[in-house]
């Protein structure tokens, strides 16, 4: 009774920093508007929705910019449960811009399919709102809510082509494994709460020391939480849903899942590892090491055997995830700052390149109606621009120097070499070998584009809608600029300080 009485007297309304929450508020208002406009407009005016979605995303980018320019960079809301720091701002910017490119990629696709257009844009915005929230969440509850917020619309988007069996399969597999991962993670989180008596990540960081009576429970909790996120980022051996989901889902949704959804999983993983488990590194570093080595290698080996382009990209994106995990395997030690920077840089570069890759796939499949690698035969001869762009994106994914992907790989290897332990060197060697293997399947696609004959001699040119052209332009420029002027992206990595990381 006394507890109730004392808390009843003490309640005061929380002070809310509306400037810090402005991106989320803009997105929330925008998605409500998109839903209502969809319900009350005639079918012929539904093109409005993609425009509204695009403007909502650009509108939400404005407060991210003003927050970044504003001098007092760290804004902590709700007693540190929701923090707007440089790290979160960089990631929010990445999600919103990636979201905008996905809007450009999907508008033609959505207009031409006879499916539920309003729901598509609404679900896309909802999922992006979850990702933006994830960047700032610093509490077990808000991390979990943000994770479900971004996942549940994504399950539905994967099954968006309702009358297509493969799309249904994609949605069901993604959903079942996703909720299974959530359950495992929740179990780990419940153990964490039991040990730390707090849901605030920084408080948990002070309690998790792998020492004393609860060392075993702490280790178990750390492993369960990492396993939960490993599903989200499709790290081997938790990757089995990824190829089927990526192949079956509508192609713009696949781009969304493989870039934005994956990046959100990595951010959550980084935030939890660095703020909640800095002293638990003896458990998660070896675990992430094994995940990273397996993810790179198995993703690559399976990608080598694929004949379907989207499936190959799915395995390639699994393998790219291994390269993002690589610096995290040493993130608890002396190389912590370099590792955090490497993850941010890799995610930015990977987003630009992979979105461009899907842009080309979408443009080509408008003509070929196929996603076989063989259908790209002789692409350069009848669509030289697309052929060159595809080559640029493939080379960037493979990590060839003047392009963006190279700087991502460079940062990741640099983090490992900064750590300078035998295990870090071994992982660097595994990574280097995998970079070479990866060139096998990327090069195979390039050979189709440049050297193979056109299937059936069908030389009709490809008509690319203007939205797709803009998306290809943005991603190609980003991929080139990030590679030629690495200072730009390394600068983002440098300013991306994660408040409260490393127990500080």
């Amino acid at each position: 009774m006394s507890l109730v009485a004392s808390s009843a007297a003490a309640w005061t309304a929380p002070v809310i920093d509306y400037h810090a929450l402005a991106p989320e508020i803009v997105l929330a208002v925008g998605l409500s508007v998109v839903l209502l406009v969809d319900l009350f407009t005639a079918e012929r005016n539904k093109w409005l929705l993609s425009v509204l979605t695009g403007f909502t995303l650009l509108g939400a980018t404005l407060p991210v910019l003003t927050l970044a320019i504003h001098d007092d960079s760290v804004r902590s809301l709700f007693e540190g449960r929701y923090v707007v720091d440089e790290f979160s701002l960089v990631m929010k910017g990445l999600f919103l811009l990636a979201g905008y490119v996905i809007v450009l990629l999907s508008s033609a696709y959505v207009e031409e399919g006879d499916y539920w257009r309003g729901e598509y844009w609404f679900l896309l915005l909802t999922s992006l709102l979850g990702m933006v929230m994830m960047s700032s969440s610093r509490d077990l509850v808000s991390v979990f809510v943000a994770l479900e917020f971004l996942s549940i619309p994504a399950y539905m988007l994967a099954a968006w082509r309702k009358r297509d069996l493969r799309s249904n399969e994609a949605g069901v597999k993604y959903f079942l494994l996703g909720v299974f991962a959530s359950a495992v993670m929740l179990y780990g989180m419940s153990l964490l709460y039991g040990v730390a008596n707090s849901t605030l990540l920084v408080d948990i960081g002070e309690s998790i020391d792998l020492d004393g009576d609860f060392a075993a429970v702490q280790a178990l909790a750390v492993v369960f939480v990492v396993v939960g996120f490993a599903f989200k980022v499709s790290a081997v051996p938790f990757h089995t849903w990824a190829p089927d989901t990526y192949e079956g889902a509508p192609t713009p949704v696949t781009a969304f899942l493989s870039v934005a959804s994956k990046a959100a999983g990595f951010i959550a993983l980084v935030v939890v590892l660095l703020t909640a488990f800095p002293a638990g590194r003896d458990v998660w570093q070896p675990f992430v090491w094994v995940l990273s080595a397996l993810t790179m290698t198995i993703g690559n080996v399976f990608a080598l055997r694929q004949t379907n382009l989207v499936r190959m990209i799915a395995y390639s994106s699994v393998s790219q995830g291994g390269f993002v995990l690589m610096p995290l395997a040493v993130a608890g030690g002396a190389a912590g700052d370099a590792a955090l920077r490497a993850v941010v840089v890799y995610l930015v570069v990977y987003a630009a390149t992979n979105l461009g890759m899907f842009g080309v796939i979408l443009a080509v499949s408008r003509k070929t109606r196929s996603s076989d690698i063989a259908s790209l035969g002789g692409l350069f001869s009848y669509a030289p621009a697309l052929g060159v762009l595809l080559t640029i994106f493939l080379a960037s994914l493979a990590g060839i120097p003047p392009l963006g992907g190279w700087i991502g790989k460079f940062a990741a290897f640099q983090a490992l070499l900064t750590d300078a332990t035998p295990w870090a060197y071994v992982l660097a060697v595994i990574g280097a070998v995998n970079s070479v293997i990866a060139f096998g399947y990327y090069g195979n696609v390039m050979r189709e584009v440049w050297m193979r004959p056109v299937p059936h001699g069908d030389n009709t040119p490809i008509v690319t809608p203007s939205s797709l052209q803009i998306a290809l332009g943005i991603t190609a420029v980003a991929t080139l600029v990030l590679g030629i002027l690495p200072g730009v992206v390394l600068h983002f990595g440098d300013i991306a300080n994660l408040v409260g990381a490393f127990g500080g």
Binding site: A8, A13, S32, L35, L39, F40, G212, D213, F214, A216
Partner: protein, 128 residues
């Protein structure tokens, strides 16, 4: 650590109690059923072998299909149920949370109403 020296053993011992309870429950139930099977006469009949469904005669198979349209009612029920679950405790403390609470609840109800408006415009409130 707040628990003291023998934290792990206490922690595990409390789970041991759960284990003992489980074993006791299985043994006790098994024992009772076994004793009952020894003493009772065995006269199976049609009525006795029917599946018990609260006194009503069971109809059809165990895998019978139900009308898919009912899931809409389940979803809409959740909308209103969640609304009630949150509005009720807020209403008892209305004055304490003041304007801030009122605005927050307004936002919450608006979001739930979006779900209802969606259902209405999609025509699922009509029983065809």
């Amino acid at each position: 650590m707040s628990v003291g020296e023998s934290g792990v053993s206490e922690f595990l011992r409390s789970y041991l109690t759960v284990g003992w309870f489980g074993i006791a429950a299985v043994v006790l139930a098994g024992l009772l059923l076994w004793v009952a099977s020894l003493v009772r006469p065995s006269r199976p009949g049609h009525e006795k072998l029917l599946t018990y469904e609260s006194g009503v005669d069971p109809v059809g198979e165990g895998w019978s299909q139900s009308q898919v349209r009912y899931y809409i009612f389940a979803l809409l029920f959740v909308v209103f149920d969640v609304e009630a679950v949150f509005i009720f405790p807020w209403a008892t403390q209305l004055e304490r949370y003041g304007t801030f609470g009122l605005v927050e609840m307004g936002v919450f109800v608006f979001v739930l109403l979006l779900g209802l408006v969606y259902a209405w415009r999609k025509g699922v409130l009509r029983w065809v």
